[in-house]
Each structure stands twice: as C-alpha cells, then as structure tokens.
Amino acid sequence: MEKFEVIVVGGGLAGLSAAYTLAKEGVEVLLIERGDFSGAKNVTGGRLYLNPVRSLLPELWAEAPLERYVGQETITIMGEAASVSIKLSSESFRNEPRHSYTILRSKFDQWFAERAAEAGAMLVTKQKVDDLIWEDGKVAGIVSGEDRIQANVVVAADGIMSLTTERAHLREEQKPRDFAVGIKEIIELPAKTIEERFNLGDGEGAAQMFMGSLTKGMFGGGFLYTNRESLSLGLVVGVADLMAKKPPVEAPELLEEFKSSKEIAPLIRGGETVEYSAHVIGEGGYKATPRLYSDGILVTGDAAGLNLNTGITVRGMEFAIASGVFAARTIKLAKEANDFSRTSLAHYQELMQDSFVLKDMRTFRDAPSFLENPRLFSLYPQVVCETLEKLMTIGEGPKGKLSSTAMREIRRKLGWSWLNELRGALKI
C-alpha cells in the first residue's frame, strides 16, 4: 500500500495552508481535492481579513491574487418601505498594510495550490476521499475509489459538510439551527463603473452588509462585495428559520427580491450575472465546533466549524488559514517525536487556544444565541427606519421635539423589552 507522511483531505484554504506549510518544512504531504482544481468547489461571501494571518504565511501575500482592499464598510438596515445605512469610510483601512481584501476563491485557491505544489506538496485533483483507513482504533490513511493510501496523519480540510470528520466520529449530528445557507451571484461590471458607482479609488473596494426585511424576519442578511471587475452579491438565511417559515419561502426567491430592491437594483444595473453558487455556512459558533484532533487525525477550517458571525463581521477564511498552519506545525513536532497519537496531536488544540482562532470563537460564543432573536430581523429594522423617518419629516403643522418624538416611537412600538435585549447585546 502506498504511504505518505501526511494526507490532507480537501484543497481549500485550510488544506492548502497545511500542505504548503508542511511542504516548506520538508514533510511529505499528499493533498487530495475532489474538484477539477483547487477552488472549483469553494464559495465565499467575499472578504478576507488579512491581519490575523499575515505573519503566518508572510511571503504569500505580496503576489496573491486578491481583488480589492476594502476601504469602505456599509451596514444597511432595511425596513418595509425605508432603509437606514451607516457607512464607515476609513483612511486607516485605505493605508498599507491593508486591513481586508475582497476575494474570489476559484482564482485565489488555484494560485495558492500552485504555490503549495512549488513548495513540494503533491496535489491530486478530481479525486474524492470516500473513507478512512483504521488501524487499532487509529486513523491510518484514506480510501479513494480503488486506492488505499496510508498516512501517519490525516488532515480533515473538507469543508463545513466534512464527511471525514463524521467518519472519524469527531462531530455530532448537524442541526438546522446551527446553519445558514448562502446564495450568491457574481455580477460582472467594468472596473471603472464599479469605482464610479461605489465612489472608490483605484484598487479600492467596498463591503456592504444588509439586514432586515430582505430575510422576512428570518435570521440572516445580505452582502455585497466589490471585486476588480465584478460584484459578489448574495444573501444568507438560517436553515431552521427557512424550514419554519409559514407560508414557505423559496430560498432563491429571496435573492431575486433583494436584487430588485431599491437598495440593490441601481448598484447592479447593466451588470451581467456570470455565476450562481450556494453553500451551507456554520452559524453555531464555539459550541458547534467538533473535536479538533484524535489519533492520527486533525480537523481544520470549516470542517472544524470555524465560522464566526458577530452581526457586523462575518469571518471564516482567516480561521481556516491559521488552523491549517497550526495543524502543519503540530505535525512537524509530532514527526520529530515520531508520535502521532492523540496525546501528541493535542498540541494542535493548544496552538488554536493560544491564538485568535479559539480566543475569538470563545469571546463571541454568545453571538449565535443573540442573533437567533427574530426581532432583530423584522421589528427593530422597521422601528429604526420609521423613527428616523419621523424625525426627518416636516409635516404641515408644527413639529414635536426630536427627543420626545423618538421616545414616543420607541415606547409605542417596542415597549421596554428592548432593554432586556440590550443586555444580551452587551455580552457580545
């Protein structure tokens, strides 16, 4: 039987980061990707925060095919017949080193795979891992079609639906409440049009988040990221809420309605849709993460449930990259000690706990339950819009004081229960 020191299952960001780092350290690594190429199966909303991972792969970023650096952030709260936007246009986000970049995964991951191959990793595409090989209760390799390949360590990097993690008995059953589905279109527009329409400088990009009426009271929201010559436009909605919705709403219909809204239609005018994609997203946070290691196996990236939605930032890719690097570092040490048992691989958990990855996941562990509140997606957006509308309206007769108008609106529509919910928000 063929044998490699390490087999990485899945050639996305976590898997490639692991394979690249291992190869650079002189560890023999085989990466197996089921798509025609790395990136063929990978979907992101669109933005990578670079600060947390810059120093983990320092030589990688200068040449990386990123789209636009994000210099402007907008959050739009959508009511039934009005919307309120808050825009941060930041000089510090525009300065080097840039804070975050929009990204297209098919492009980026293909490029990253080339770098991993250059570093000495062996990459096999168009091949799917079907099962694990077990020896004495330890993971000892993988099965792919007719092939059985042994390894000292298997790195599960096969995404949020990770069947590898499931086969290794490291994850509990996936519950609808812990997941959302993201639906996305790539809409092509000339670079010049994008820059004019979004008021952007050369190479600068915009990130926009939307919440409120677009998800009809369900958990979720919309997103828009500007790429070099396209927009990533999409919508995320909680799977459990979608299932419970009466009368039922079709997921793709939500995106169509969002596209035709006043907030979006003018931004995509004249653009041509060139791709439609969708993917499940982890929303369970820290409590939904599986066990990260066992004998002969490490779990990384989305497979490890490393997604973090705080309501105003949505993260995952930098966790994937960091976890891949930490997995590689752990394996390097395990190789030196020639010990691939769970005791030895537990070092991975320590690296993750000592880093931003599990620190941030823990800090924001209450965010998922806070964001479950349906009032956040219907009542509150509506009240914000109506209150601001009242304050800014000049009617025929005399106008009431601003403070009392606002207080009356809030008291009449929300009562005092929002104070209770404010306490929940203060935990985040």
Partner: protein, 93 residues
C-alpha cells in the same frame, strides 16, 4: 420561483453531470413527510414533487451546498458529493 428562471441562472455554471447519483432519497420516508422542506430550501430547486407524489431529483442542477442534508430532519436524504472531477466547477467562487 419558476423553474425556468432558476435554470437560466444555473446556465452560467459549469456542472459536469455524474451518471452515478450522488444524492438519493428514501421514497417511503418522503411520502410520509408532510413538510418536504427540500422543495423550498434548495437554492437550485433540485427537489421536485412529481405527479405520483414522489420526490424527484434534478441532480444536474446541484450546487453541492449541503442545505438539503441539514434540512432533511427525517433522514431521508442519503447525501454525498459527486465523484471526483464531477459536479460544479466554479470559475469565480
């Protein structure tokens, strides 16, 4: 949303169809399932109710997102990815 408009969107994607079905359902479970979440949670409308009241799968439209597996709380969906080199091949992602 009409099947035609979903199909038009999917027309932009490259999907290499595998003749081996990567997702299967247990008709007897589906028949007794009142909610049939699969019919509206799927972003590509892969799941269709035929005239006999059975669930049919248009797997040539599958985006491999995983939503049906999460939503099928009756455990009728036997879910896997297409074989290597098949299924969606994203150009942008």
């Amino acid at each position: 949303m009409s099947k035609d408009s979903i199909r038009a969107k999917l027309g932009h994607d490259t999907i290499k169809v595998d003749d081996q079905k990567h997702i299967k359902v247990k008709q007897e479970v589906c028949r007794s399932c009142e909610e049939k979440y699969c019919l509206y949670v799927c972003p590509a409308q892969v799941y269709v109710l035929n005239k006999q009241g059975e669930i049919e799968l248009d797997l040539d439209a599958c985006l491999e997102c995983g939503t049906c597996r999460i939503a099928c709380v009756k455990k009728s969906v036997d879910w896997n990815y297409p074989r290597g080199g098949f299924g969606i091949q994203l150009k942008f992602g």
